[in-house]
């Protein structure tokens, strides 16, 4: 199991029941998540739009200022505006999250497809391999990877990707197997379709459709992980405006300047939450539409 499998699994919850669950309409949560995501994407693509300032521009004499109209999120030890930094950090954080997720998905897709398509022997082997990978809890796999290739944003990103791959692989495999054994694939066989046609027409589309959702859920987790690595001083390095790095820098001053670590952390959490909310929303729409 992996947090992804859980997240993904939850999307597939049984049909709603009046008594206990609210109708699966487009909820307020999803709306908010959507808005925040729009903000994030804007900040990532055009940071200047949401925060005109220079994320690295120092102003020693106005250091450690608490949140104020002038500095919404306050300033850090070098007088840099936290809001500006957080906004400009969005880009790198999202990038890290996305790339890591893509790596994870990519590997997962390869492994999953091998296991799902190439018959029992390959399946068995891949499964064992996955079991082995699962024996390294995510962060450990990442740490091991960093031990080998040294710290840094790039390695951290790949590390997170690697750490999440097994989860994806297992989901994809499961999806593949269930689709392959599904009645409509059989029906297609009965219609005299060749395995190739069935693969293209039915199996792949039905397997890959959920990946988008998975990705959305994954990005949130990936960002949390990557920032954890940065926090441990193994990822992005200051003064880079990366959330995790900012947070760890801010922690030194937690007693005197809580805002330095609060806001970057807040953004990490909100991002992850939005990703989850959106992912679930999309999932439901895919299922009950």
């Amino acid at each position: 199991m992996s947090d992804l499998e859980i997240q993904a699994g939850l999307g597939r919850s049984p049909r709603a029941n009046r008594q206990h669950r609210p109708p699966r309409r487009f909820g307020v949560a999803e709306a908010l998540a959507g808005l925040f995501t729009i903000f994030l994407v804007t900040a990532a693509l055009f940071p200047a739009l949401v925060a005109p300032g220079d994320p690295l521009g120092i102003d020693p004499l106005s250091a450690f200022q608490s949140p104020s109209p002038a500095h919404w999120f306050g300033t850090d030890e070098s007088g840099r505006d936290i809001y500006t930094r957080v906004s400009h950090g969005t880009g790198s954080s999202l990038l890290i999250g996305t790339v890591a997720t893509l790596i994870g998905l990519g590997l997962g897709l390869v492994l999953g497809t091998l296991a799902g398509m190439l018959g029992p022997i390959v399946d068995f082997t891949v499964n064992r391999f996955l079991e082995v990978l699962f024996a390294f809890p995510g962060l450990l796999l990442a740490l091991l990877f960093i031990l080998i290739f040294g710290p840094g944003v790039a390695t951290a990103t790949v590390a997170v990707g690697l750490a999440t791959a097994p989860g994806y692989a297992r989901i994809i495999r499961g999806q593949l197997l269930s689709v392959r054994s599904s009645a409509f694939v059989e029906a297609a066989t009965v219609l005299g379709r060749s395995p190739g046609q069935i693969l293209v027409r039915h199996i792949l589309p039905n397997t890959l459709a959920p990946l988008f959702v998975l990705g959305t859920l994954g990005i949130g987790q990936a960002i949390v992980w990557a920032s954890a690595l940065s926090y441990l001083g193994l990822g992005a390095a200051p003064p880079a405006a990366e959330w995790g790095a900012m947070l760890s820098a801010g922690r030194t001053y937690i007693g005197s300047a809580w805002w330095m670590s609060f806001f970057p952390g807040l953004f990490i959490v909100l991002t992850a939450v939005s990703a989850t909310a959106l992912g679930r929303g999309i999932e439901r729409r895919l299922r009950h539409a």
């Binding site: 199991m1 992996s2 947090d3 499998e5 859980i6 997240q7 699994g9 939850l10 919850s13 049984p14 029941n17 008594q19 206990h20 669950r21 609210p22 909820g27 949560a29 064992r128 391999f129 079991e131 082995v132 699962f134 024996a135 390294f136 809890p137 995510g138 962060l139 450990l140 740490l143 091991l144 960093i146 031990l147 080998i148 290739f149 949130g220 949390v224 920032s227 954890a228 926090y231 441990l232 001083g233 193994l234 947070l247 760890s248 922690r251 937690i254 007693g255 809580w258 670590s261 609060f262 952390g265 990490i268 959490v269 992850a272 939450v273 989850t276 909310a277």
Partner: protein
Amino acid sequence: MAEVGRGTRVFRGALARLGGALFVLWMVATLTFFAIRLIPGDPAEAILGGPGSQTSPEALAAVRAEYGLDQPVLVQYLAQLARLATGDLGRSYSLNQDVAPLLIGQLGGTLLLAVLALGVAWLLALGLATWSTRGGRVAWSVGSGLEIVAAALPHFWLATALIVLFSVWLGWLPPISTPGVAGLVLPVLTLAVPLAGFLGQIMRESLLTALESPFVLSARARGESERGVRWVHSIRHAALPAISLSGWAFGSLISGAVVVETIFARPGLGRTLLNAVTVRDVPVVVGAVLIVAVGYILMTLLTDLAQRIADPRLRTR
């Protein structure tokens, strides 16, 4: 199916599982061994204090001989396996002591932390799940909202927040691990809350499925009270999937321990591991990874067992 047949099958199943576990262990060892080969630089030099310290050729040669680094890789690999089999995890570069006893010493604290956190997470999750399904859209939304947020909380941020709140502002709890129980509260909470987020989501889903299922209807039709329906019938169904997650939970707890032990200055596997990584202390890292892997495997075996106990259906199949 004949009772005899079942008995033998169960036995065979146990054997198979054990074999699988051993295989995984072996693979883990192998994987790490060859992964370590990828580390740039001369291991012998690393052993002699890492890069930067310019070591005499003689010393290097000596170390190579001692660690068999002059042997062909395959020989080294087998030697490594042999050492591992005898529980010898090598010697730490940075701490100048044998890895096995060092890590074993650290293991206790981490396990205590993990077990407590798991327990607390369970309670939190169960409580939230049952409360949020008590009825009403508000409870539902609040419950699921809390869980999603909890699941998204990074340990390092949560820990900081808790310290600021309970230690700095309220001054109720020590910000670092102290021998007493008080010192455990914050670390355990930090680990438990995000986990509870995940477990809670699972539990509520399965709790709802149970509550909506016919057997609950027939229970109600027998005059079962709401409490009865929950605690006699639904709760076990809610627990099942969460039990099956324990293996994963253990993993995530270990990951969390790395951060938590560092922040709360708790001695433990995670902190040792992190230090080892930052100073590139290969034997310690490998040792820690192996130990965790063993733990994970044991955990999954236990999980299997627990599931069988909790869900009779698995026994008959």
